[in-house]
Symmetry: C2
Subunit: 454 residues, 2 copies
């Protein structure tokens, strides 16, 4: 796509907030000349070499008053992310300053970029296929090293190659059909499309489909709540789990009066961890605001770590809730304080892990158990390309379904040119995954989920 | 300062969070060669020209696995912010990815930068004086265009020049003393230091000192709370004030069950605006949690906009609170709903502004009044350099005090060389403001308040 068809767009590419540096991205036809009009020293950018960096000031186009001291990174078409002329303004990370520069850019002819518009332009310029375009967004939102690695793999084209390999096999099948249709006299009477070949291709598609759950869990993560009566040891467990995470996904633990939450990584999965308020007795549960919020958190949790003081045992008021958690398959029971003399009298309820959060006894087993429950072995990433997009999943399902029709047609021995239509249908779905065939609607829906500036 | 004395340091220069781009800053001796070891295409950076941009990949130094696709901005000493060899890595804005790159940088020999360490190095390299170094931090945290403009003015050296001009006058006074001490035979019997000259200099210092309150209010802003009984029109006023702000300082309004808050700019001042829960009756005020929090917000507010439904009038339960707000000088009374028939019977209490938030009647006057109360004319910025640092204020006070001693000494006709000591004392304090004379303690205390990456 020629550069002159693309109006110049701009957006902040770094998060809002105070920081040393912010980056404002400008791309499109005339982007360099436009920025040059508000840059001092004047006239420097328009004639500058590609891939060069320039120190100077952003100024008001009318008053020439200095708005900020900046570094400007200049990239020329096609050697930029979008394939267009691009200027990246590295300014001071002040929200007031960013606003002033953006206002000036809009005033001189830039338009505010839509979410994902830079990446959309990169796709339109043939810089990346749709699986890689999606990976850009997934990469940015990755919260653990594993999720980052998966997105990076897709960004480097691993999924695109996998899809293209599957497509190549289908194209080979179609070629055989074409030959038979073109030269029917050479019909050897053999089956032109071997069902085994179709099954093999379908299995490859299903393997990718199965990877969707893996991709999702690493990208979206799980919600884990800690519950139990007051003084059962909930906060100790919360802190212990925070300590397990060496990477510190979230630097600040959000604290409210009613519960504490923090994001950690366990087994490579982002875990939103909640320490709820303790239940003192069952009547209180429904009555107070804090208890109501705790209940909401428990209801929404994928996993509930229920802590019981072994010396106290299970209270009557807890039985119903425990049964409910067990029935929903979300219970991890923690039988705490086994090191205290009072614990001796009782044995742990079925399925509870005996620990002392104080001495650390049983803790490694508990962490192991929690990790397995968060990420079952069947969902653990094996390093193969993984899909992590509902769009990709739906298109793979369509391809899978079309190949099912192919197998059905072959079994019923319908004419081979009719079967070929279903093979083409599968090819079409696979082509839509990489963006070889696509529509404007699909593109706008896809990129609308991107962050602005990407 | 020679580059080889500075160990290589690194830090994230953009805010944590998902975004299109993040910038990791690397600076110091060998920074370029070190980054080259984890950059592909290999060996490209070490020989690259200054002010050049390079596309490539950050890789693991051992496995050579790709960690991210990046753009690298290369700056060579002394042509960088710090005056040292510098590499700015523009990577994808994913927290997981940033962590992986930072981990690799630390592994190959970079040290995590201390807060403000890049700017400290810029100061040590003579790239900027202390008033400009402080302005860097103030610029970043500016929340309105006015605060940004003030900081920018300081960054461009306006305050430094003002201080240096004052110093030059004192140096002239000292020179006269020196001449008299060196050539006592030429003593004309005249006063060597004219008190008028000292008073003039002192007035200039006091003018700067007076600007401190202006600087603070634009930089730190004020807290404004909206209070009143339920249905008096608090939320309408809150929304009206949000609409007044064309710049939108904060994009998201934080909402809790008990109150709503948002940051807006009024009269160029950042205003943290709170819409508190309504008081239904006085007994409730002390009893419920929400009321307790509302009270805390009112207590901490610089200004309270108290809304009364004109049709309802002042309730007995409100009188004490209104009196208290009046006494503390923090009350702005809003007599709302004057357009409704019910309002006719009552007149507004003393000091209340009559409005209809519904029809808009009286609203411009109310906004004007609130703006004046937030920023009195005496504190409005007149475009002259302003100080916004406690350190600068204390040093100016010390200089003011020293000049007081000079005037005292002149009045008491003590020997001129004793008077000269106080002039030198004032000069020393002024020199400390720009960093001409300074100590390591002062520097570390100053830069500790910076954000990391700056």
């Amino acid at each position: 796509m020629a550069d002159h068809q693309n109006p110049p767009i701009t957006a902040l590419a770094t998060p809002w907030g105070s920081s040393a540096i912010a980056v404002i991205r400008c791309s499109g036809s005339g982007a360099i000349e436009l920025v040059d009009r508000i840059f001092v020293p004047a006239g420097k950018l328009a004639t500058a070499a590609p891939n060069s960096v320039h120190h100077g000031f952003v100024v008001d186009p009318d008053s020439r008053a200095r708005l900020d001291e900046v570094m400007v990174v200049l990239l020329r078409a096609p050697g930029s992310y979008t394939g267009e002329d691009t200027v990246e303004i590295m300014c001071h990370g002040s929200s007031a300053g960013i606003q002033r520069i953006l206002a000036v850019l809009l005033a001189i002819g830039f338009r505010q970029a839509e979410p994902g518009e830079f990446t959309l332009r990169a796709f339109m310029a043939g810089k990346l296929d749709l699986t890689r375009a999606e990976a850009v967004n997934e990469l940015v939102s990755a919260r653990t090293a594993e999720a980052h690695e998966m997105a990076l793999q897709r960004l480097s084209g691993a999924l695109e190659q996998r899809i293209n390999a599957i497509k190549a096999r289908l194209v080979t099948l179609l070629a055989a059909v074409d030959i038979q249709l073109d030269y029917p006299e050479e019909d050897s009477g053999e089956v032109v499309i071997a069902p085994e070949a179709v099954v093999e291709v379908r299995d490859q598609i299903r393997e990718l489909l199965a990877s969707y759950r893996t991709g999702r869990i690493y990208q979206q993560g799980v919600r884990v709540a800690i519950a139990g009566r007051t003084n059962a040891g909930k906060s100790s467990l919360f802190n212990e789990l925070l300590r397990q995470d060496r990477s510190i996904v979230s630097e600040t633990a959000g604290t409210t009066r009613d519960y504490i939450e923090s994001t950690i990584a366990l087994a490579g999965v982002p875990v939103r961890l909640y320490d709820t308020a303790g239940f003192r007795d069952s009547s209180e549960r429904v009555e107070t605001e804090g208890m109501r919020r705790s209940q909401e958190i428990l209801d929404a949790a994928d996993l509930v770590l229920y802590v019981i003081d072994a010396g106290e045992g299970v209270h009557d008021s807890e039985s119903a809730m425990l049964q409910q958690l067990r029935d929903s398959g979300r219970l991890v029971g923690v039988w705490n304080k086994i090191d205290l003399p009072a614990a001796g009298a009782r044995s742990a309820p079925h399925g509870f892990t005996a620990v002392s959060l104080n001495s650390g006894a049983g803790l490694p087993q508990l962490i192991e158990l929690i990790s397995e429950r968060i990420l079952p072995a069947s969902l653990t990433w094996n390093g193969e390309p993984v899909i992590d997009s509902l769009r990709q999943k739906q298109l793979l399902e369509a391809a899978d379904s079309a190949l099912g029709h192919v197998l059905e047609g072959l079994a019923r021995q319908i004419p081979v040119d009719a079967v070929a239509l279903d093979v083409e249908e599968a090819l079409h779905s696979l082509g839509a995954i990489t963006g070889e065939v696509t529509t404007e609607d699909v593109l706008s829906a896809m990129f609308a989920g991107f962050c602005v500036g990407k």
